[in-house]
């Protein structure tokens, strides 16, 4: 009954864990074109990639309906900041961290079971069922994003 709730609720994240998971701000200026960095938020690795024009064009020229998990590149970036890709670096198969700038699609390659993602973080081949997830984020200025 209701008296059981405290015993169950105590297992939820406590106030300090929630506070430690507050949004973070990341400065984009040190990331040159073609480079990427990895930051941690809520214990998860997040890739922030400054894509070259070639990578953006490659991502946009793919026929969306042929993708295992169809999604346009435009839907996975913020309007006006098309070269910036922000994805959670956890493979949607069984949770390893994919390696950036690897694989046939100049995207991500997961060494555990061979899943390959493209330069928009979308799954192209391999056992992973879904695209790399996008965390909640927004641009607070042209050179700074807030994740969370």
């Amino acid at each position: 009954m209701a008296s059981l709730w405290p015993f169950i609720s105590q297992m939820n994240p406590d106030a300090s864990t929630i506070a430690a998971g507050a949004p973070i701000e990341v400065d984009l200026t040190p990331i040159a074109s073609g480079q990427d960095i990895k930051v941690f938020w809520r214990g998860k690795p997040i890739y922030i990639m400054n894509r070259t024009k070639k990578q953006v064009d490659e991502a946009r020229s793919v026929q969306v309906s042929s993708l295992p998990d169809p999604a346009t590149d435009q839907s996975r970036v913020k309007e006006g900041h098309d070269q910036w890709l922000v994805v959670i670096g956890i493979c949607t198969h069984l949770g390893c961290i994919p390696i950036a700038h690897e694989g046939n699609y100049d995207g991500f390659f997961c060494p555990c079971h061979g899943s390959q993602y493209d330069s928009s973080g979308r799954i192209r081949q391999g056992p992973a069922p879904a695209n790399l997830p996008i965390p909640p984020y927004q641009f607070v200025s042209d050179t700074k994003i807030q994740i969370g």
């Binding site: 405290p6 015993f7 609720s9 105590q10 939820n12 106030a15 864990t17 506070a19 430690a20 507050a22």
Partner: protein, 685 residues
């Protein structure tokens, strides 16, 4: 559990299981159809109460273990953060701590019941001895549990009790080193106490199973002490005993809830809110109230080894009771002499408990010795003597006859006796404070009482005083900036708390160059300490260490004296800490002519010993308030004490609020149980 059960299930699934593992039949014959004497009184509900308490302690304990860290450097903080941050963490901690006291209270009542009604006599000797084993396991569990928060009393209690074993000749010191895992009580000790504290309750549960098994072989004793002979003497356990147990349990829960929600620190010691310091022994080391009688016996004997032997013997002697008291009449109801000496024995135990909390000086020592002799004389001289010379009154022919006779007036007076006795012992646990101290005046606080709330304005003014004055020397390391926006606190918004945080410089790093750097504070950061480490703090303060203020209002207390501590239990007085803090701040006076102060100290009326290293921190006009409150010392003292009470217990309003809901529920529930019990028993009397 004697012979095959008469349980005949009709449900096919139950029949299938029953044929392969007759567990339903076992439950049926043990707790449903089980013949129970029909004349049992409410002292017999404590078995069920104890089973419930064991289950609750195990449940809350396992949950607490999900958040507790058993390492000497981290344990104290992990308990505080558990209480502050984990959802309902304060509730779980209070349940477990108060639960231990309730567990012992129930077990003492259970044992005294056994003593009075002769429940240890043939054929229940093994049942009784299993109970003694459970009691010993409980004492070990309780002792180790108290060490885990790693406060001053945890550490020094562990040191004193483990040192007991050094009294053993030749191997004593080796045994103590083995127990410690080191050259003194330290991290290895804490770690192994945690492991054993987790283990022992399951051993207790196993012995409880044996205890109930042994009980069911012999059947329960009853107030007349006459065994059940015919079916007229007994009723089925369910629903008759079940409903009576439920009613007893609900009344007990009300008493338990009083401590959980309104008096969580009444039975504890303020010193345990000070982190363990191996270099400083508290002035009065006191165990928890349930060990006090044995502590008194230990201290009564001037010889170290003899004292230890006496203390353990005081418990072991219980196991021999069936042979020490060989009187044929079981129940003291029919033994006029034994009955009187029983009550004298109860008073002896209570007085021993009171003495256990007093400093071992003067008349307390003499009284302790006399009472120790009385305690042992009761078992070793009196009971054997009475079984030979006493002429008992005639017992009833059967339980059925006993039910038809008149009884009942004794119950109320016994209950009163226990309440007073309990109050004396509980209050005496608080008497071990410094005795020559000037008592701080009692002030009125907005947060006192069952409906108390923090005054938001006072909290905000207190925060300002802390920030402008106290934080120069005192840290507040358990409060994070985000707490300023929590419910039940100073009432800032999340944005205001973030802005407040950003005013502070927090050390962070190392950066990619390997250097530490400063950055603006964030809501998740804790208030920074004014000094980088203890040595720097001492160097800046003439060798004294300004204590962290997060828990100061729970870590300071003073003796309330008799009979105040009895009224305190009913008025929920828990405000010794704020009274003390407020008094210290206003207690600086000109040193009297006949007093010499050590170099570098100041005279303070309320500080124990009167010589305080802190110069007067607050004077009139030092801090100005935006809300127009007077800039006077009494105002500062009141506001900073209120703020520090919140810092020590940010969840107080939630605690009292939930307490009210729980009390309303429990009172209604107890009422329902009572009327159901009356209905069920209507045809049985």
């Amino acid at each position: 559990m004697s012979g095959p059960s008469d349980f005949q299930p009709t449900n096919p699934v139950i029949k299938w299981i029953e044929r392969r593992l007759p567990i339903f039949g076992l439950v049926h014959s043990s707790f449903v159809a089980y013949p129970t004497p029909r004349n049992l009184n409410y002292w017999w509900t404590f078995g069920a109460i104890l089973s419930m308490m064991l289950g609750l302690q195990i449940l809350t304990g396992i949950i607490l273990a999900m958040h507790y860290t058993p390492n000497a450097d981290l344990a104290f903080r992990s308990v505080e953060l558990l209480v502050r941050d984990v959802n309902y963490g304060w509730l779980l901690r209070n349940m477990h701590a108060a639960g231990a006291s309730m567990f012992f209270l129930a077990v003492y009542i259970h044992m005294f019941r056994g003593l009075y009604y002769g429940s240890y006599k043939e054929p229940r000797e093994v049942l009784w001895i299993l109970g003694v084993i459970i009691y010993l396991l409980m004492m070990a569990t309780g002792f180790m549990g108290y060490v885990l928060p790693w406060g001053q009393m945890s550490f020094w209690g562990a040191t004193v009790i483990t040192n007991l074993f050094s009294a053993i000749p030749y191997v004593g010191d080796s045994i103590v080193t083995l127990l410690w895992g080191g050259y003194s009580v330290g991290n290895p000790t804490l770690n192994r106490f945690f492991s054993l504290h987790y283990l022992l309750p399951f051993l207790i549960a196993g012995v409880v199973v044996l205890h109930i098994w042994a009980l069911h072989v012999a059947g329960q004793n009853n107030p007349a002490g006459v065994e059940a002979k015919t079916e007229k003497d007994t009723v089925a356990f369910t629903p008759y005993a079940t409903i009576k147990d439920l009613f007893g349990v609900s009344c007990f829960l009300i008493f338990y809830a009083w401590f959980i929600f309104y008096m969580p620190n009444y039975l504890g010691d303020a010193d345990n809110y000070i982190p363990a310091n191996p270099g400083v022994t508290p002035q009065h080391i006191v165990p928890e109230w349930y060990y006090l009688p044995f502590y008194a016996i230990l201290r009564s004997i001037p010889n170290k080894l003899a004292g230890v032997i006496a203390m353990f013997s005081a418990i072991i002697v219980l196991a021999f009771l069936p042979w020490l008291d060989s009187a044929k009449t079981r129940s003291s109801k029919y033994r006029p002499l034994a009955k009187q000496f029983f009550w004298i024995f109860v008073v002896v135990c209570v007085l021993l408990g009171y003495l256990g909390a007093q400093p071992p000086e003067g008349i307390y020592v003499i009284a302790g010795r006399i009472l120790t002799v009385c305690y042992f004389a009761y078992f070793l001289i009196l009971l054997p003597l009475l079984s030979r010379i006493e002429t008992p009154r005639p017992v009833p022919n059967s339980i059925a006859d006993d039910v038809l006779a008149k009884y009942g007036k004794k119950v109320a007076s016994i209950a009163v006796a226990f309440v007073v006795a309990g109050g004396l012992v509980a209050g005496s646990a608080q008497n071990a404070r410094a005795d020559e101290q000037e008592t701080p005046p009692s002030q009125s606080w907005s947060f006192s009482g069952p409906f108390g709330k923090y005054d938001r304005g006072s909290l905000q003014r207190g925060l300002k005083i802390y920030k402008e004055v106290c934080s120069n020397c005192h840290s507040l390391s358990y409060i994070a900036f985000r707490n300023l926006a929590d419910a039940g606190g100073p009432g800032y918004s999340v944005a205001q708390a973030a802005a407040f945080a950003s005013d502070y410089k927090i050390k962070d790093g190392p950066n990619d160059a390997g250097d530490m750097f400063d950055r603006p504070g964030r809501p998740a950061d804790y208030f920074p300490s004014p000094f980088p480490n203890e040595q720097a703090a001492r160097a800046a303060n003439g060798g004294g260490l300004p204590p962290d203020l997060s828990l100061i209002t729970k870590a300071r207390s003073y003796e309330r004296g008799f009979p105040k501590f009895i009224f305190d239990f009913f008025t929920q007085f828990q405000e010794q800490g704020p009274n003390y803090v407020s008094a210290i701040l206003q207690g600086y006076e000109k040193k009297p002519a006949d007093v010499t102060l050590p170099e570098g100290t100041y005279y303070n009326k309320y500080f124990p010993g009167h010589a305080i290293k802190m110069p007067q921190p607050l004077t009139n006009g030092q801090v100005t308030f935006d809300d127009g409150s007077p800039a006077t010392l009494p105002q500062y003292a009141h506001d900073i004490a209120t703020f520090l009470m919140w810092a020590a217990e940010p969840q107080m309003e939630a605690r009292k609020h939930l307490g009210l809901q729980v009390f309303v529920f429990l009172i209604i529930f107890a009422g329902l149980m009572y009327f159901t019990k009356k209905k069920v028993w209507a045809d049985a009397h």
